[in-house]
């Protein structure tokens, strides 16, 4: 019995000695550090699928659709604190959204956009860009913790309504204008 106990103790001591030996065999270098600096800059971009729309007008007609839809793709990476991204369509002049250059104009109130299949709406609002009463807010995206980086599409279908005011008497001519699409992150 005493021999067995002694043997067990001897084995335990040997095991501890071996473990200590293994531990002492470990050797570490000093820890060398690398400072990392990653900058995610704030960005807000808006791209259009096309940059031109043609209209074949019919005098006095309410329905003069544009030749094509245009998709506005808005992409953003925003800083904390931003709460919304707005997308706007606007003209520089409400009275002369399109003009023939000789005094005959199509006002922004006769220019309509249907955004993403919604109702066709005239550009009669004062928005953050462009002329007073010459704009339309296409979208308002609430920014939360889950979409500081995101993207959004606005598919725009266009129409010119020539029924209002003196527009039925609009002379035959070529009318040109520039519609702007722009996004803004706030605050």
């Amino acid at each position: 019995m005493k021999t067995g106990k002694f043997l067990r103790i001897a084995v335990a001591v040997l095991a501890m000695t071996f473990a200590a030996s293994m531990a002492s065999a470990q050797l570490n270098s000093g820890a060398q550090t690398i400072a990392l600096n990653a900058n995610l800059t704030e960005s807000l971009t808006l791209n259009l699928s096309a940059n031109a729309v043609n209209f074949t007008l019919s005098a006095g007609s309410a329905a003069n659709p544009g030749s094509t839809n245009i998709t506005a793709t808005t992409a953003w990476t925003l800083k904390p604190g931003r709460t919304a991204v707005g997308v706007y369509a606007y003209f520089a002049s409400a009275a002369a959204a399109l003009t023939d250059g000789v005094g005959d104009n199509i006002p922004s109130s006769a220019f309509f956009i249907s955004d993403n299949g919604g109702a066709s709406t005239a550009l009669t609002n004062t928005v953050v860009f462009g002329a007073a009463n010459g704009g339309l807010q296409l979208a308002n995206v609430a920014i939360t913790g889950v979409n500081k980086t995101g993207t959004r599409n606005d598919v725009m279908a266009f129409n010119i309504n020539l029924t209002g005011g003196t527009l039925p008497q609009l002379p035959a001519n070529t009318y040109t204008g520039t519609l702007n699409i722009q996004a803004q992150a706030t605050p």
């Binding site: 060398q32 550090t33 690398i34 990392l36 600096n37 990653a38 995610l40 990476t77």
Partner: protein, 187 residues
């Protein structure tokens, strides 16, 4: 007998003369006791790891898988080891896997999105638990078997860095900082 009788006497006389000459010289030699000097030469084991640079910058693009570091860094490991060492390993690690880089406002880039390509190998995320750093926050860069012929040696690890933002698409725009540590261990 006749020869012995003939030469015995002169030889004996010569021996006595020589002994008489030698006796005065031997009387002047005196030896001290031998004093031992114990010699001990210790060649300490050592591992040193140096880096070619200590900072890396990243220009991040939101949601992009490819955000390479501004520079590669070479870790040079030099060792002098005891005979009982089996291998020398080099590790890269962060102290916390959840926030390898942070903007300090609660937005983090985890170590799982931080990748290292070592010596031209595949980019690999720091998701392993290694002897240093946080759990699931490390990567073993290299393992060198220590044999009879390389108890002393050197090894270089050329690290290229990348941050993959695909898993964190909602990361807000900000500056993210962190510390990557490189350390070697012989065991």
């Amino acid at each position: 007998m006749k020869l012995q009788a003939k030469f015995g006497l002169p030889v004996a006389v010569l021996a006595l003369v020589l002994a008489g000459l030698a006796a005065p010289a031997g009387a002047q030699v005196r030896n001290s006791g031998a004093s031992p000097i114990a010699l001990q030469a210790v060649l300490n084991d050592s591992i040193t790891l140096t880096l070619s640079a200590n900072a890396v910058n990243f220009n991040l693009t939101g949601s992009s898988a490819s955000n390479p570091g501004s520079t590669s860094i070479t870790a040079t490991t030099t060792w002098l080891l005891r005979p009982n060492v089996g291998s020398l390993k080099v590790y890269a690690f962060f102290s916390n896997s959840a926030s390898a880089l942070t903007d300090g406002a609660g937005n983090n880039i985890p170590s799982a999105d931080f990748q290292i390509s070592n010596n031209g190998g595949a980019f690999t995320a720091l998701t392993n638990t290694v002897p240093f750093g946080g759990a699931n926050a490390g990567l073993q860069l290299s393992s060198t078997p220590i044999l009879g012929n390389n108890k002393s040696g050197t090894h270089t690890d050329v690290m290229n860095f990348n941050i993959n933002l695909v898993p964190v698409p909602n990361l807000p725009a900000a500056t993210y900082t962190g510390t990557l540590t490189i350390q070697a261990q012989a065991i």
